[in-house]
Assembly symmetry: C2
Homo-oligomer: 226 residues x 2
DNA sequence: TGTCACGTTTCCGTATACCAGATTGCCTTA
DNA sequence: TAAGGCAATCTGGTATACGGAAACGTGACA
């Protein structure tokens, strides 16, 4: 054979890292049906590597919940039932709400200013329908909130969680007027924060996240099926 | 030497798993000062294994944040500043509070009954000062709350977080009358839950966790120092 | 016909040896 | 003394091998 679809793109970085990314994409794209057992040797051949980096990549995927390792019985692709995806989104919503609450009480005036600036800047992209730009500003908005908690550990956890959900969220903002509503909701969260009402900011953030999740509810209706 | 302190205890299970546990304990106990670079071959010799399972164990530790991997420059023991430990405990407190709130609204009568039963059973161990038994019941209490959220993902996250902090919490309950106060606080949380007041249950849980963290505040004042 | 035991096969977990490349520390040189 | 170069060292990765546990298939027995 030609050595399979070797992971040559981005020759830099650790091989295990590249394999991890490739596997993440493959799983998210549905190349491996949920419940499939992944053979280490097969994957090694497929990516033109040896078992070692493949194993390493699989452990990392297990750590982020994409696969499940049953000792001595192989690695299986995790089941992403609608129930489970819902659980993940709810958890994300609650964590975001938590960050919003803490950030309300702890952000410095400078940080708050930067956050408002981000929000203002997003107006253009909404008007022009520039989803990519809005997506970037949206991410920046949420990450600014994480940082605003002044709790580095929580910020890391929130970010990791957000990235784990990114795979399911890709097409989210494309739907209807979701982008308008999203920005409006950001504004409402900011308003609560400006009033120093962390609890209300948290509630609005939770609603914001859950609404975003609902926006792709139909999309996740039957994802990992065969 | 005699081949090092081979990881013979608990002959069952994966070698990499046992090494991971040994390293976790060693790091938490301060055997490796923060910032130390860990030599794979040295560790392999120390635990009487080859580099392969050691590498695997180190990756797992990296995933749980105990060590940091700098590509091609080795693995270093993560810095656990009081600030960072504080951040972790705060995050844990907030997550526990979140679980308490959701569990209040979602537990079935059966689950609630089991929780109350757990609480009742802990009375004996408090009276006799049986810290180990109380520790077990305490863990069961919190895990019952996780399950009570009816959110499997959140439950997993909460449990993982709790276990990451376990290393820093070992001696916590031994201090003074902490065990009495701990049980009292559980009772107060239960009371709020029985009234269906999730918000109050959350506030009490948060306070409970933060108080527990404060109980070992002096202990973590200067942990990983030399 | 269903089930249980037994042998076979597959594949994971681990060991070992080795290599290339990067990093580091030391030593030489200007 | 500072800069530059060289050698030792260690990691990331490859290749290979092997014991053992789990899965699988087969055939005997109830």
């Amino acid at each position: 054979m030609d050595g399979g679809e070797a992971v040559e793109s981005a020759e830099r970085g650790l091989l295990s890292e590249r394999i991890r990314n490739a596997l993440t994409d493959a799983i998210a794209a549905g190349d491996f049906a949920a419940g499939t057992t992944l053979d280490e040797q097969l994957l090694a051949d497929r990516y033109g590597a040896s078992r070692t980096p493949v194993r390493e990549a699989l452990r990392q995927l297990a750590a982020s919940g994409l696969v499940e390792i049953r000792p001595r019985r192989g690695v299986v692709v995790a089941q992403f039932t609608p129930q489970r995806i819902g659980d993940m989104f709810e958890t994300s919503a609650e964590v975001e709400a938590l960050c919003a609450r803490l950030a309300t009480y702890r952000m410095t005036p400078l940080e708050r200013g930067a956050l408002i600036d981000l929000h203002d800047r997003s107006a253009d992209s909404v008007a022009t329908g520039d989803v990519d730009t809005y997506d970037r500003l949206n991410r920046a908005f949420h990450e600014a909130l994480y940082a605003g908690t002044h709790n580095g550990f929580l910020a890391e956890q929130a970010l990791a969680l957000r990235e784990r959900l990114a795979a399911f969220r890709r097409t989210q903002l494309r739907q209807g007027d979701r982008i308008h509503r999203s920005r409006e909701e950001h504004g409402e969260i900011l308003a609560a924060m400006s009033e120093g009402d962390g609890e209300r900011a948290a509630r609005r953030m939770r609603a914001h996240m859950l609404r975003a999740a609902a926006a792709l509810g139909r999309y996740i209706a039957g994802p990992g099926a065969e």
